[in-house]
């Protein structure tokens, strides 16, 4: 690639460096967004959207469209379907998530099986293949990532207010339904850009584990978002070096590293808040 050489970025030539750059970029976005996933108890919801990503992969190959866009569209559709079903069906949200999560994954796997003309690295989609990241992927991650962070910052106050109390936000003129929609679109975007790196089965861990770790180290929502971003980046770097040293799978190694940081944080007696949950109201 001429422009790459022109920039003098020989560093992009090394697959390991590309993986580091891509992973850190993803973690910087996933951390802050993951805070909302934790605050709003959307972990399973995020998982469901992520599982549907494989269906997005299959469909975009069949329709020969851009894979990132295909994954985004399917994840967003699944989120929309869930909202509609929540309003109408009598099944609990929990059961609905279970149905959507596993059926979209299964339909995706079946469709991939039909694709005899294209060779698909199924393991790569399920568990990610961060070492195969191209310069183009990095451009997508950073372009998309900057966009996601910009929207998150712009919509931060209403998002946070409607997380604390939708009722309060609504009474004071904000629109919690719109905030929810924004959040879902952002999650679908992160899933679309993250799938190639850590795979559909591990995406939500990058959202949740750094955010959960950051909680004990933070006194405000903004601090928690920043700490989660940094911790996610540390997990990516640590995980990738670990995987190179011990020749382990890169995606899972990153998640294991995030888990190790989480466990270590539990031992650090930093927060006097820990364990003091005073219920209010009622």
């Amino acid at each position: 690639m001429a422009w790459c050489l022109k920039l003098g970025c020989a560093m992009f030539g090394d697959y390991f460096t590309r993986a580091l750059i891509a992973g850190v970029g993803l973690a910087l976005v996933a951390g802050p967004l993951g805070c909302f996933v934790v605050w709003r108890r959307m972990a399973y919801f995020g998982d469901t959207m992520a599982h549907s990503a494989l269906l997005g992969v299959a469909l975009s190959i069949i329709l020969s469209m851009n894979m990132t866009l295909g994954v985004f569209a399917v994840a967003a559709l699944v989120a929309g379907a869930l909202i509609v079903l929540q309003r109408q069906a009598s099944l609990s949200t929990d059961a609905l998530l279970g149905i959507l999560s596993h059926s979209t994954l299964a339909v995706g796997l079946v469709l991939v099986g039909f694709l005899t003309t294209v060779r698909i690295d199924l393991m790569g989609f399920l568990f990610g293949d961060i070492l195969a990241v191209s310069v183009e992927d990095i451009v997508i991650i950073y372009g998309g990532g900057v966009g996601i962070l910009a929207i998150l910052i712009l919509a931060w106050r209403p998002l946070l207010a409607s997380t604390v109390s939708p009722e309060l936000a609504e009474a004071e003129g904000l629109r919690p339904e719109a905030s929810r929609l924004v959040l879902m679109i952002l999650m679908a975007s992160v899933i679309a850009i993250a799938m190639k790196l850590v795979g559909v089965l591990l995406i939500t861990s990058l959202l949740i584990i750094p955010a959960a770790t950051a909680r004990r180290l933070s006194a405000t929502p903004e601090a928690m978002a920043a700490v989660a971003a940094v911790l996610g980046a540390v997990a990516v770097v640590g995980g990738l070096f670990g995987s190179r040293t011990w020749d382990t799978a890169s995606g899972p190694s990153i998640v294991v590293m995030a888990l190790v940081i989480f466990l270590v944080s539990l031992a650090v007696p930093v927060s006097r808040l820990f364990g003091r949950r005073v219920p209010h109201g009622t």
Binding site: V164, L168, A171, E172, G173, T220, P221, L273, H280, G281
Partner: protein, 264 residues
Amino acid sequence: MNAVVPKDILITLSNAGVTRGGRTLVNGVDLTIARGEIVTLIGPNGSGKSTTAKLATGVLKPTMGSVTRLPGLRIGYVPQKLSIDWTLPLTVERLMTLTGRHTPEAIDATLEAVGAARLRKAAVQELSGGEFQRVLFARAMIRKPDLLVLDEPVQGVDFSGEVALYELVRQIRDTTRSGILMISHDLHVVMAETDTVICLNGHVCCRGTPSAVKRSPEYLKLFGERAAGSLAIYEHHHDHEHHDDGCVVAEGHEHGHEGHDHGH
């Protein structure tokens, strides 16, 4: 005495009601809130207090009647139940800027006004029920609202805390001249401070000054049911209205009414 010049009227509901999915949540509500006035909505659970408040704040659109609000009306809201999960780190000072930007000086002054200045750096999860309620008052007040909506403001607060909070409501009214819309099922203390009490049970049962409402048979019946837990008196003036205007029928109370009154 409040001179009711038109510009002082913040909100007017005329014959307003909401039907949702075939159910009438509330209907025929007439209500005005003026600057510096305290209006209290009372009534049993499911009587339409919250729905009426949502009509006033504009969260719900009326399906019947009309609601007019002063253009650009600024609302401060103190929610009924607010349980902030431990996973969300939130200090009192951060809570103060939840729905809008405010200067540190304004935050200090407002917390001071509710007697919660020393809590500024505290995590909201660490506050007691009464402290948290004061902070929520401050959060709504810092917006300098035209209308302050208090949803069950003394829930979960002990008696002395309750008296103090009502004193605070009076102070807020006197110093800011906000209109105050209070939702309450606690009928004792609030009565003294309030200008107009509106007693709801799917529609407006009775209204007036606290002392007038206190003597009205509709109020006594509603209040008596709640307090005594049984009602042997066959005082059904009120219930016939329900059947006639049909609102309670739509709420599925048609059969419940007689059983309701005798059974409790």
